[in-house]
């Protein structure tokens, strides 16, 4: 058993870490005011970060899943917002086409996505079906008419939605069959009847776009059906484990970012004649935070390893997400506490981590769903 990254992975980490520090940090303030980080994403595209696990044949970097997780982790240390944009773009915005697309579909969509010229989004959740995605009686319905499908319905909480060029859309082609009647479609921005709602105002992740997407008699060519009719739910669930590991890596990054600031501050801030880091009340707090982070790291990278090897990782991915997201929330809360009154102001970054952390316990399967997955696998 080896707890060591390969040289290639270490290089990847170093490169992304430097990129995040130098190229992302200057944009954080703007992102906090709700500006979507287009120029950063463009640079990420140039570096190959928008298609890390996609094969070179389709314009990707041709690296492994572990490298992709390392990138999400490093980026999220500095900007959890860019972490989630990248994660959604890659694992649910691009990969479904890679895994289930026809050669023609892959040629048409994947290279632009992998190069970061296009941004991907994933339209599954509806108002009445969140955690219970299988109940997806999908009020979104697709009716086949000649050479196209006519889709009506509405999706909520669509990450990247306001900025995406390509949407993976789930709608029912046979409402009688429940989840077996769901089909997946590739829909391009600008398709008539594709209506993008206004950005949700969120607690955190302010630079990311989250919108409601509505389909009003939206016509999609049959050539854009992804997989076969009725395979939609399978497609939606296929990449769930990978998506969860990605969010777990984001949560790990949040915890590490908050921790870094807390340690720096605790070593510099003096009260009662010495740095607060040397006061046991704060020192022990930092020790607990560091230990939880280390445990998260092991869970996240073990799950990523299993996935990289093509092994089953449903339970491990769920455990990694459950634990890392809880750690992110706890560590961020404690980091604010370490900063005291200053932590409660927006002048220091810890309150941002605090706000960004919470959603990691919610999206891509709530913590309650992760517990269901874990308990069913025992």
């Amino acid at each position: 058993m080896e707890f060591k990254f390969t040289e290639e992975h270490e290089m990847m980490r170093k490169m992304v870490s430097a990129f995040a520090e130098n190229e992302i940090t200057p944009h954080i303030e703007a992102m906090e005011t709700g500006v979507f980080p287009k120029t950063v994403l463009q640079k990420m595209g140039e570096l190959g970060l928008m298609g890390i696990p996609i094969s070179e044949e389709y314009g990707g970097a041709g690296m492994d899943f572990m490298s992709y997780i390392i990138a999400i982790n490093e980026i999220s240390k500095v900007s959890p917002t860019l972490g989630v944009i990248l994660s959604v773009h890659t694992s649910v915005g691009t990969n479904p086409i890679v895994y289930f697309g026809t050669e023609e579909q892959k040629r048409k969509y994947v290279p632009k996505l992998a190069a970061g010229k296009n941004l991907g989004a994933f339209c599954l959740t509806e108002q009445s079906s969140g955690s219970d995605a299988a109940s997806l009686k999908s009020k979104a319905v697709a009716v086949k008419e000649g050479g196209e499908y006519r889709i009506n319905g509405s999706k909520v909480f669509i990450t990247n939605g306001g900025e995406a060029d390509v949407f993976i859309v789930f709608a029912s082609t046979d409402p009688q069959k429940g989840s077996k009647g769901i089909s997946a479609f590739v829909v391009e921005k600008g398709t008539p009847g594709l209506i993008i709602g206004k950005d949700e105002r969120k607690m955190g992740l302010h630079g990311s776009s989250t919108v409601q997407v509505t389909f009003e008699d939206m016509k999609v060519p049959t050539a854009n059906l992804l997989g076969k009719e009725g395979e939609g739910f399978k497609i939606a669930m296929a990449n769930l484990d990978a998506g969860r590991i990605g969010i777990a890596a984001q949560a790990l990054g949040i915890a590490e970012g908050a921790m870094k600031h807390a340690v720096q501050y605790a070593k510099g801030r003096e009260q009662f004649g010495k740095p607060i880091a040397e006061q046991q009340g704060i020192g022990f707090k930092l020790a607990e935070m560091a230990t939880s982070i280390e445990a998260s790291r092991l869970l996240v990278y073990r799950a990523a390893y299993l996935r990289s090897q093509g092994l089953n990782c449903g339970k491990e991915a769920a455990m990694a997400k459950l634990f890392a997201s809880r750690t992110a929330v706890e560590v961020a809360i404690e980091a604010v506490q370490v900063f005291g009154g200053y932590g409660y102001t927006t002048e220091y970054p810890v309150e941002r981590y605090f706000r960004d952390a919470k959603v990691t316990e919610i999206y891509e399967g709530t913590s309650e769903i992760q517990r269901m997955v874990i308990s069913k696998n025992l």
């Binding site: 906090e32 105002r201 607690m203 955190g204 003096e270 009260q271 009662f272 004649g273 607060i276 604010v336 005291g340 009154g341 409660y344 102001t345 927006t346 002048e347 309150e351 605090f354 706000r355």
Partner: protein
């Protein structure tokens, strides 16, 4: 041992709950979003006597007790924590030291208008380098003739900027540390007193909890004050 509120306390709870629902809750989200303190709400609380719950009538209060005060804060905070903390800082942080340690003259001059809600109170203890370690404060007060000259700065002053009356702590004898700390009542118009920019606090950006009054107050140079050195037992 009784775990039951008296009829009077129940009446206060009901009154404050109605007030909170009808007058405070409707604009809570909006004030939060706009980071706005609403003086009208404070004035309405004053009309109900909420701005001086525990103080005797002779000092402008309603002569009730701390339990009633706590009930009021609890009920207000159910709908708007900002309004809750505004009243709390006004009453217990600013009002109490004057009530407990002030001269009769100080109580009539400062506590009465605060209790009646004509004036708002604030409290200045924390400094940039002394938070939990409040005894480590650096603000000094030097007696010059019959005035104290106070120099230093305070941060995280709840109600700072909206307050008229500040209870402020400074070292009159820096050698003696806590034992050399004195408390002063400062009016917002004293020369040399200035208030810094509003700190954007967590909720202010995030419109969920919100408080409209976390300010940093900076005392520049000379601040005249009450003649007598009203020493607060270091706390």
């Amino acid at each position: 041992m009784q775990f039951k509120l008296t009829e009077e306390h129940e009446m206060i709870r009901k009154m404050v709950r109605d007030f909170a629902q009808n007058e405070v809750a409707p604009t809570a989200a909006e004030r939060d979003e706009e980071e706005r303190f609403d003086r009208e709400i404070f004035d309405k609380m004053a009309e109900l006597g909420l701005t001086g719950i525990p103080w005797p009538e002779e000092y402008g209060g309603i002569g009730s007790d701390y339990l009633a005060y706590c009930i009021a804060i609890e009920e207000l905070s159910r709908v708007c924590a900002s309004t809750g903390v505004t009243l709390s800082a006004h009453t217990s942080l600013a009002g109490w030291p004057i009530y407990k340690f002030g001269t009769e003259e100080q109580k009539q001059k400062y506590l009465r208008p605060m209790a009646q809600g004509e004036k708002i109170g604030a409290y200045g203890l924390t400094e940039p380098s002394s938070g939990s370690d409040a005894g480590g404060m650096r603000t000094t007060a030097k007696l010059v003739g019959d005035e104290y000259v106070i120099s230093g700065s305070k941060i995280f002053i709840t109600n700072g900027g909206i307050a008229d009356t500040y209870v402020v702590f400074a070292l009159t004898d820096p050698e003696s540390k806590q034992k050399g700390t004195s408390a002063f009542i400062i009016e917002k118009d004293f020369p040399g007193f200035s208030v810094g920019k509003k700190r954007r606090s967590l909720e202010s950006v995030h419109h969920r909890l919100r408080k409209s009054s976390l300010m940093s107050a900076v005392f520049l140079r000379k601040i005249s004050l009450e003649k007598k050195e009203k020493a607060l037992k270091s706390r």
